[in-house]
């Protein structure tokens, strides 16, 4: 298994390289770059713009620009302080550093002049919070939707045309047909107008934290008013964590509802197909219990197509989160990516494309590993 995973990871490297080339070319063929806006601004001299172009390699051929960008991701880059642009002083920023107890990987993905931040900070949040929120919401949503949808799908298939089957079918179609933004708006209305969670329980809606926790530390440091490292579980600000959990479930529920609806339909259909196969008849004829027939023989085959689709579900979940983030004002990567697109903030779009490419590849890797574990017919070499 170790060899299999290692080989798949190695396969990912050329794929990632292709993704990075395609993403870079996509951005490059667009007219203009971040210096274009400086060219139009009378407050910046031509000499300064030329200096910027030279510094960021924009006066170089496209392959050199790409090489510089790639160097920032895998190794290091020279950056300048925007505060003193007339006298740019370069220093090297390493993409990897080994501060105890972790090795940090902090790729330099370019600079967002629109937000006056490194592109990685513009995309992942200044402290990487947006990235953490995105990953938490995505993973929780996937678990939530699969843990609910698969048993329902199995139950619906094994109790075809029963009341429960019709009931689940109805809600599946409802979940499929209701767009996420409508669900998010309905959620806001329900919480604020009907349940009045603010007036009755002092609970907030929107964002991923209540007001008083937005800038509070995740963990407390040794000195007063100093934050501790995020991994220091012994000094965690647990009220903030609890508050985050309160804000976590709405996006999970809203995005998960649409996922559940699709997954239930997939699972039910696949299982019904498999249950009609001759080998299932044979298993029954051999006198196996229905539980063994369904769960050991039928489900293991019926679930395979879903697992192979897992890599596809991850970007789909990202898309769902984007819509919900828009309505509920969530500080997540998807919202930052959307903002970069609408503002034509090219370095951030590029960083986003690469990030989503990496996630897609990781999703596929994960689904392949799961498939090997679940399907006895598939074996790693």
């Amino acid at each position: 298994m170790g060899n299999f995973i290692l080989r798949r990871v190695l396969y990912m490297i050329p794929l990632l390289w292709i993704v990075s080339v395609l993403a870079f070319l996509l951005i490059w063929i667009q007219p203009g770059d971040f210096v274009s806006s400086f060219k139009l601004n009378p407050n910046f001299s031509k000499a300064f713009i030329a200096q910027l172009e030279k510094f960021y390699g924009l006066d170089q051929p496209v392959y050199v620009q790409y090489a510089l960008w790639l160097k920032g991701i895998v190794c290091c880059t020279d950056v300048i302080d925007e505060k003193d642009p007339s006298n740019p002083v370069a220093w090297k920023v390493w993409s990897v550093d080994g501060t105890f107890p972790f090795v940090h990987y902090n790729p330099y993905l370019g600079y967002s002049f629109e937000q006056r931040l490194p592109a990685s900070q513009a995309l992942f949040g200044i402290n990487g919070e947006a990235l953490a929120f995105t990953l938490i919401i995505t993973v929780t949503t996937l678990f939530f939707s699969w843990l609910i949808a698969i048993p329902i799908g199995i139950y619906s298939a094994t109790h075809k045309y029963s009341f429960a089957d019709h009931f689940f079918n109805f809600f599946s179609f409802l979940g499929l047909s209701l767009p996420n933004f409508v669900l998010a708006m309905l959620f806001l209305m329900l919480m604020v107008s009907v349940l009045q969670v603010g007036a009755r329980f002092g609970l907030g809606v929107g964002k991923l934290l209540d007001n008083e926790f937005l800038t509070a530390c995740w963990s407390f440091g040794k000195a007063a008013a100093q934050c501790g490292p995020w991994w220091d579980l012994f000094h965690y600000n647990w009220p903030k964590v609890v508050n985050f959990l309160w804000h976590l479930w709405p996006p999970v529920l809203i995005v998960g509802t649409a996922n559940i609806a699709s997954l239930v339909r997939y699972m039910r259909g696949n299982l019904l197909d498999v249950l009609g196969e001759p080998y299932v008849q044979t298993a029954r004829a051999k006198g196996l219990t229905e539980r063994i027939v369904v769960y050991k023989h039928a489900v293991r085959n019926a679930i395979n197509p879903l697992i192979s689709l897992l890599g596809f579900w991850i970007p789909l979940t990202f898309e769902g989160i984007l819509v919900v983030a828009y309505v509920l004002d969530l500080h997540v990567v998807e919202a930052n990516f959307w903002r970069a697109i609408s503002n034509e903030d090219q370095p951030v779009i590029l960083a986003g494309l690469l990030f989503f490419g990496v996630i897609l590849l990781l999703g596929n890797l994960f689904s392949d590993i799961l498939l090997v574990m679940v399907d006895p017919k598939i074996r790693y070499e």
Partner: protein
Amino acid sequence: MFKGKFTAILLAVLVAGLGFNVLAADCGKIADQKDLNPLVIKNADMPSPDDAKNATCGGIMSNTLIARPRTLNPITLTDVPSLNLVDRMYDALLGGTADQPTATGLAEAFEVAKVGNNGQKVTFTIRKGVKFANGDPVTADDVLFTVVNLIFPKDIATSIRDGYACGDGKLPTVTKEAANKISFTCNVTLRVFVATMDPGFVLNKKKVLELVPNVERTPKDFNTALGLTTPPDKLKGIGSGPYVLTKIDPASVVEFARNTFFWEADEKGQQLPYLAGIRILIAPTQGNEISLAQFRNGQTDWLAPRPEDIAVLQSDKAGKSFQVNDDIDSGRPGGGTTQFWVFSWTTKTPALRAVFRSKEFRQAMSQITDRETMRKNLLLGLGIQQFSHVPVPSQFYVERDPKAQGAVPQDAALRDQWEKTGKYLYNPQAAAALLDKIGLTVGSDGIRIIPANFQGQGNPAGKLEFTLNTNVGNTIREEEIKLIASEAKKIGVNIKAEPKDFAALVDQLLVGDYEAIRIGLAGGNDPESGLNVYTCEGNLHFYNVDCPKSPTQFEKDLDALYAKGVATLDRNEAGKIWDQVQILVGQNQPLVHTVLSNALFAYRTDVLKNHGRAPYGNHDVVYCANGKCRGG
């Protein structure tokens, strides 16, 4: 209560639409500030005198900002969201209004002396013992440095400089008279001379030099200084306003804490501000929706609602969910505010550039702006149609009632000229005829064609289709641009309505890199507030950023009239000139004005006290009942 920073908002800025657990606490006694001559605000001068008697300290006041701020730089800012942040951190020399300035700011007195035949000199005496938020004294050196090193250099992009010009167009002479005295001298004076000479924001020289060491040699460095990523601890003490910035996440929240060195007190001798802090939530995408939900849910203390939100809030009140004021919609159309859509005369597409430079085209666009439908359907009747670039509450507004008591008299001929030539009412048929007349004929696909060399401008041919942006999250503006696009389609103009992030919109606007934008301006009521927008060299002359290099005849004429207007001391004579200015602007429609909403304001009556109709403007005296606001 007459404190305010009128100079800072004398000039226009762009409008987006516009774990604490603090209990009641002692604000501190102003007497503890040794050697300070505080500004004592009597109860009678407070926004709500009855509330003022029971003022308590503490609490964090919260509200939502529906657009992302762009900077923390008080000198170079051009947008209201940024002003909302920095305005709390800095103070001006004076208070009062442009016409009646008062020594209720950092200056405890000012004197005006005549210089020569037409000149004036104003000398400000800085309040004794007044300090920046880190305890550094505010001195004449700081004012001199702010004005001479941060405002006057041409390399620094600031609108404040546009308002500083004397009647002869030259910058005033600034002289340090003593450690606490500074004077400004103009050889040709202005109608609002004293107010104009107030820089609006006074910055701590020492702190600025720590942050931008080379600013005296290379002023341009200051343009990109004090960005949103500047750590708050580095900014502490840069200003002397009622609050200091403590935390900022530009995508999410900004927090301020009270300035313990602040120099105002109430009549009981309690140091102001009463609030322990202010928290501003930032919601740049679905701003209107989420800010309403958060206000209704008790997460914020006040809200600038849309007209359509009023019924929801009243229903909440009827359902006893919370207590909200009854007079949400009693505000008049926002003072100092104008709303419009504008074309870039320097846009990248040559054919569009040629069309946007045509005044007949812009007149036609004014005629497809269905202001009455906007007023009725989008503002639900709570607003007025707008035609002039001078704000409606201004004494010089061209459609004023000259017979009203104390009004500026008006020449009937000028009023008649305005009605006949300066005002373009909704009339799509006339708009279509006008476009036909200037040669923008409808093509086979129903879209008008821009002929080559349109009006002798040497452009290639093209189609009359362009993008109209506005700031995302402002749902009224989003609906307005859809309405404009729909009206335009009827006469063969293809407009793509597209909302965008406010900060990005402002970036594009400032460099002329856009096609059309629906946005607004906030500033003073008087026509002088438009100097930075309507004069050619103005920092916000966004419809033609090439003006300094190649001004059009209209822009030259307007510059001449503005120069005459600001230097005309006689109010009645000034009235005539400002009428002419409004007629000229109306005829040329550089900005196509739309509708102006009434000032709507909702707050929790059980929580927020002593704010009048502007908790933002009165942030030094507003307080939370029992020292506890909704926000913490």
